[in-house]
Chain length 343, copies 2
C-alpha cells in the first residue's frame, strides 16, 4: 500500500496534476492521512456519510464527486458538514443545483460546485456541451461553480478499454470546460478519475485526478493492467473448512459476504488464491468453493490461505477493521471508519 | 414479514417438522424473537460471530450449520458461546471433529454435533454413505453426535430445480441417517434447509427445516416460485439523482454497496423497481443505472423509489438498521445486530 500511494503521488506530481484520491476504496482515516501526507491535495468521497467521517478525522478538504440531490435529513447533514469542512459537491442537473442551494441556504458560499459530465460511461453526468448551461443556472442560484468533473468508468470494460476511456475523459472535459467559459463561468478545476485511466488522462486541460482503487489494488486492476500482478495489497485471510479429495474440491470460509459477487466479464471466479494457483469458482454467503484444476494442489483442512478479491472497494465495506502487516508481521489494526456510509 | 413468518411456521407445523430458521438473512434479534414466538424451535446461524450475537440476545438455542474447524481465537470464542447457549455445530471431516473437540475441551459435552452431507449442491458435506464413519470418529472423540444435515443449494439453480433438490435432500439425508445407524449412532435430528426446498423436503426421514430467506423474500425467490410476486418484505428506498431524458436513462443512489452484485443466471439486472416496471441494469458502488425500456415511465430527479434486491441476505449485511413499516408508516427501527459477523 505504501508503494502504491507513493507511485501514484509521484506520477501525478511529475505531470503537474493534482491528486485527490477517492476514499470510498479504503474508508479509513489512517489511509487517507497517508495519501495526503504523500501529496494528495484532499480526498474524494461518494456520499455525505463518507464526508462526515473524514471531516471528523481531520481530513477536511473533500469533494463529494456525486450528483447531489440532497433532501430531508441528508440536506441537513450536508449543511452541517459544509460548516466544518472545505467542501466541493457535484451536480448534473438544474434540479440538483436547486436542491444543493436549498440545502445550504445562507451557507452556500462555503461550498464549491463542479458540474459532472458523461464522457462515455453512460452513468451520471450531462453531455459536455450542456455543462455550461447547468453551471450558469447554478451560478444564478448563488452557487460557486469552480469546474467540471467526469469518471471514465468504461475504462473498466477490459484491458483494451483503458486508453480510449482516458482519451474520452480528456476530450469530454476539454469540451465541458469550453462550455463553462462560453457560459461565463471560468473552470479552475477540471477533474478526471479512475484507477485504470489516471495515468493516461492526466494531461491537457485536466488539472486533477481522482483514482481510488490504486491504493490497495485487486484482481480486476491486475487484469486491466493498471497495476503489477504482485501489487494487490489488501487480501482476505480465509480458512479451508472442507475438502473433497475425490472431487478435487475445497471450500474456504470466505463467501459472498466477504468477497462479494463482483465478477467483471473478463474474469472467471470471485477471487484468486495465488499460493495455490486457484480461483474461487462459486460463493454463497459464508462459503467459497474451489474446483481444483488439473495440476493444482489441494490444501489441507484448517489451512489458512490468502485470497485476492476481484474488486476491493465493496469488500472493504464488509469489514470493521484492517489488520495491518509489514514484512509478514501484523503491526497494527485500523478501523474501516466509513464502513457502510453508503448515503 | 409477519405473514411470511406465519406461513412457514404453519406449513412446518402441519407437516410435523421442526422449524429452525437461518438467521443469517435478517441478523436481527427482533426478527429472531418473532420467529421463535411463532413456533420455531431455535435458530440456525452460519458463524460463531452470529451465534455470539443471538446468544447475547437471549436466543440461545442455536445450530451453527457450518463445517466447523475452529482454531486460535475462534476456538476460544466457540467454547465461550457454548457455555451460555444450547449449541449444535456441524462437522464434515474427522479433522473438523478433532478441531471441535480440542476447542471445547472439557466443555464438549455441552455441544451437540451434526454431520453435514452433500446431497448434490457440490459445496460442503461428505457423501451420505460417509456420514456414519465421520460420526463414529467424532463419537470416539467424546462428541455428542445427534444427527445429519444438508443444504440443497442446487434448488437455487432455477425454478425447475427446486423439486429435484428437495428430493435430493430427502434421499441423501435418509441414506446418511442409515449410515449413522450402521455406525452405531442414532440420529435424532435429520435437518434439511433452504427456502426453495423447505416445503417439498419436509417429509419422510426429515425432522427439521432451516429456511432463511423466506422471512423477507427477494426477487430471486419470486423468480424461483418460492414466494408470491408481491411478497418481498424488505426493500431499498433510493433516490433518483440523475436523469437523461434523451437516452431514457436514470440513476438511483443505491449501487453495489447497497444492492450487491448478486445476479443469478435466470435474472437480468441487480434489482427491480416495481412501481416503474423497471430493472436496475448496472451498478457501481453508489450508482444504480436504469435504462428505461420502451413503454416504461421516467421518474423525476429527487423522486424516492423502492427497489427489490435479487438476494436479500448480503444486502441486509450492508446496513446497520432496518426501518420497520406497517400500513405504509414507519413504526420502529431495528438493529442488524449481527451485521458483518461473517466469521
Amino acid at each position: 500500500m505504501d508503494a502504491a500511494i507513493a507511485r501514484m503521488a509521484d506520477a501525478m506530481s511529475e505531470r503537474g496534476v493534482a491528486l485527490r484520491p477517492h476514499a470510498k476504496t479504503h474508508k479509513s482515516i489512517e489511509v487517507g492521512r497517508r495519501q495526503v501526507g504523500a501529496g494528495a491535495v484532499g480526498l474524494t468521497v461518494g456520499t455525505v456519510g463518507e464526508a462526515e467521517v473524514f471531516a471528523d478525522g481531520g481530513l477536511d478538504d473533500l469533494f463529494i464527486a456525486y450528483p447531489m440531490v440532497p433532501a430531508g435529513p441528508k440536506a441537513e447533514r450536508l449543511r452541517e458538514v459544509a460548516r466544518r469542512a472545505r467542501l466541493r459537491v457535484g451536480i448534473d442537473s438544474v434540479v440538483g443545483a436547486h436542491a444543493v442551494a436549498d440545502a445550504l441556504g445562507d451557507d452556500r458560499e462555503r461550498v464549491s460546485v463542479l458540474v459532472e459530465i458523461d464522457c462515455g460511461g453512460r452513468r451520471t453526468g450531462v453531455a459536455p456541451s450542456d455543462a455550461g448551461p447547468v453551471a450558469a443556472a447554478a451560478t444564478h442560484l448563488g452557487l460557486d461553480v469552480i469546474g467540471v468533473f467526469t469518471h471514465g468508468g468504461h475504462g473498466y470494460h477490459g484491458p483494451d478499454a483503458r486508453a480510449a476511456a482516458a482519451e474520452d475523459e480528456v476530450r469530454g472535459l476539454t469540451e465541458a470546460a469550453g462550455s463553462l467559459r462560453a457560459a461565463g463561468v471560468e473552470p479552475s478545476v477540471v477533474s478526471a478519475g479512475s484507477t485504470p485511466t489516471a495515468f493516461d488522462s492526466a494531461r491537457g486541460a485536466v488539472t486533477e485526478e481522482r483514482p481510488g482503487t490504486y491504493v490497495f489494488g485487486d484482481r480486476q486492476q491486475v487484469a486491466l493492467g493498471s497495476i503489477a500482478p504482485d501489487a494487490p495489497a489488501a487480501v482476505i485471510a480465509a480458512r479451508v473448512v472442507s475438502l473433497n479429495t475425490a472431487a478435487r474440491r475445497f471450500v474456504i470460509d470466505a463467501g459472498a459476504k466477504t468477497l462479494t459477487k463482483d465478477v467483471p466479464a473478463y474474469l472467471a471466479g470471485h477471487a484468486s488464491i495465488p499460493e495455490l494457483g486457484a480461483v474461487v469458482d462459486r460463493v454463497s454467503d459464508y462459503h467459497g468453493v474451489v474446483e481444483v484444476k488439473d495440476g493444482g494442489s489441494l490444501p489441507e483442512i484448517g489451512q489458512v490461505v490468502l485470497a485476492v478479491p476481484n474488486h476491493i472497494c465493496p469488500v472493504v465495506d464488509l469489514f470493521a477493521t484492517f489488520l495491518v502487516a509489514r514484512d509478514g508481521a501484523i503491526i497494527d489494526t485500523w478501523r474501516v471508519d466509513a464502513r457502510g456510509r453508503s448515503g
